[in-house]
């Protein structure tokens, strides 16, 4: 059967037969890098278009419909515009930090791609602490934002960066705790283990109320972590014009923009992996006929379908809610989300020990 892992194996066999093992490894790494960059570009184009369509339909508009059939080439045109634009560096800016910041944002996003399983047996690096790796690396994101805000020599940028620092640091706690609930249930930090544990049903169905609460907390926390509305205080265009990327233009701005969408994709992919079974098809206990029917749908379609559903959820949040204030944002985390997810983690642990889940 055609599948992504099949193609990967074919390539690997061919390379191993043609070159020695060292060269095979080098070529495979280059291929993986190219694939990740290609995926980035494709995701950027698709997600921007999707966001604009979702926004338009919610706002009783038509959305992009001029460039290409049904406006499908709109984001390509936008990219072209951004490439052609001049990338200004302000006079008073710290030139090195200012120019490096957007690349750090991209590098973080790239690193996060590593442990994500896109399809059955199709994963860049199935390291044994996959989930921990994701939580650790994603917090480097805040450094690029702080660098951008500080080096711009602009008060708006600085305020956006400081807001974003406070926000990401606090929301990481509840995001981490809700990830922990699944780790407790699975007993492993490895992504492939977590996915295989959902072979007889996704955690969101097996785990009763605690997993639901963890899922909701996770979605709220990652929305805040990726600086998306209603938690887009780092940008807050009605207050801080554009927050930390006020001074950026051209391709450097585009990199921040792209990194935001890539991060949204990654956190949704992780949410789909942990709670909705990743590439695992929808299975119910011992209903074999149903399970077999579900297995016919390729695993990559399952993965991308689930991820895009979660992405839609995050976009839906953005176009519905007003923005929070900075103190309310921190209140929400420290007074509501953190206590709830801590108690929830206790509940889940009890549930896992007593074996109450399916």
């Amino acid at each position: 059967m055609w599948s992504l892992s099949h193609i990967a194996n074919e390539i690997h066999t061919w390379l191993s037969n043609t070159f020695n093992p060292t060269w095979t490894l080098v070529i495979e790494m280059v291929l993986a890098g190219v694939a990740v960059i290609g995926l980035f570009a494709a995701l950027g184009l698709v997600l921007v278009l999707m966001e604009r369509r979702v926004a338009a339909w919610i706002q009783i508009r038509l959305g992009p419909n001029r460039v290409g059939p049904l406006g499908l080439l709109q984001s390509l045109a936008d990219t072209l515009k951004l490439i052609v634009k001049e990338g200004l560096t302000p006079d008073g800016a710290d030139k090195v930090m200012f120019n490096v910041a957007p690349f750090i944002a991209m590098i973080v996003a790239m690193l996060l791609m590593a442990p994500i399983a896109f399809a059955k047996d199709f994963q860049l690096w199935d390291l044994n602490i996959g989930v921990l790796f994701v939580t650790a690396v994603s917090s480097i994101m805040v450094i690029s934002i702080l660098m951008a805000g500080w080096s711009s020599n602009n008060k708006y940028s600085l305020m956006g960066a400081m807001r974003s620092g406070a926000q990401i640091v606090s929301y990481e706690l509840s995001a981490g705790l809700s990830i922990m609930t699944i780790v407790v249930l699975t007993g492993s930090l490895q992504v492939s283990d977590i996915i295989h544990s959902q072979g007889n049903g996704w955690w969101i169905f097996k785990g009763h109320l605690p997993v639901w609460i963890a899922f909701i907390t996770f979605m709220i926390a990652v929305t805040a972590e990726t600086n998306r509305a209603p938690f887009d205080l780092a940008e807050a265009e009605s207050e801080l014009t554009a927050g930390f990327h006020t001074e950026y233009s051209g391709m450097k701005f585009a990199l921040f923009f792209l990194a935001e969408y890539i991060n949204v994709f990654i956190v949704c992919a992780i949410g789909a992996t942990l709670f909705l079974g990743g590439w695992m098809p929808l299975h119910f206990g011992s209903n074999n006929a149903f399970n077999d029917a579900m297995d016919y749908i390729p695993s990559s379609i399952w993965f991308f379908g689930k991820t895009f559903c979660l992405i839609f959820l995050i976009m839906w949040f953005r176009w519905t809610f007003p923005r929070l204030r900075i103190d309310q944002l921190l209140n929400l985390e420290w007074k509501y989300l953190l206590p709830i997810s801590m108690i929830n983690l206790l509940l889940t642990t009890a549930m896992a020990i007593l074996g109450w889940h399916f």
Binding site: V54, W316, I340
Partner: protein, 158 residues
């Protein structure tokens, strides 16, 4: 009690957010509510109301005759100096001198479409047209002469 209040707070908040999301989901799925008009494409079917104030025009009949007597009421009524009436003296067949307009110069770039000139005109010589695509590449094209070349005043209009 503290705990019940806390839980009530949380459920109330979630409920209020869910109502908003339900409303936006309704619009996301109901595309017939979309009110966008695709303007340059719908130019053929676009109907403006007959009172729409687009620009001042002077209607001429098929004999190239207008109703303007050159009384300058519109020029006086205009708050912006948009209209300039240049008069001349026609010699009628009987040899009498008669005042008539030579040119009625209209500066579209100064006009605010306030309709005061049309109201002021005693002989209904000018009216508002329903055009609105006025942009041109040269400012000079916005200065218009409203009476057609060779036109003369209609019989019986004083």
């Amino acid at each position: 009690m503290f705990l019940t209040d806390y839980i009530k707070d949380v459920t109330g908040a979630v409920k209020s957010l869910a109502t908003g999301m339900k409303r936006t989901l309704y619009y996301f799925t109901h595309h017939k509510e979309i009110i966008t008009q695709e303007y340059p494409d719908n130019r053929d079917t676009l109907v403006l109301p007959e009172r729409f104030k687009g620009e001042v025009v002077m209607p001429h009949d098929e004999k190239n005759e207008h109703r303007c007597t050159g009384c300058t009421a519109c020029e006086l009524a205009c708050p912006n100096g948009t209209i300039k009436v240049i008069t001349k003296f026609d010699i009628s067949p009987e040899g009498k001198k008669k005042k008539a307009i030579d040119k009625l110069v209209y500066h579209l770039e100064l006009c605010t479409m306030c309709n005061l000139c049309v109201e002021a005109c005693p002989s209904d010589a000018i009216k508002m047209a329903q055009t609105f695509e006025h942009s041109v590449y040269d400012r000079k094209q916005l200065t218009k002469i409203l009476n057609h070349p060779g036109s003369k005043i209609m019989e019986g209009v004083e």
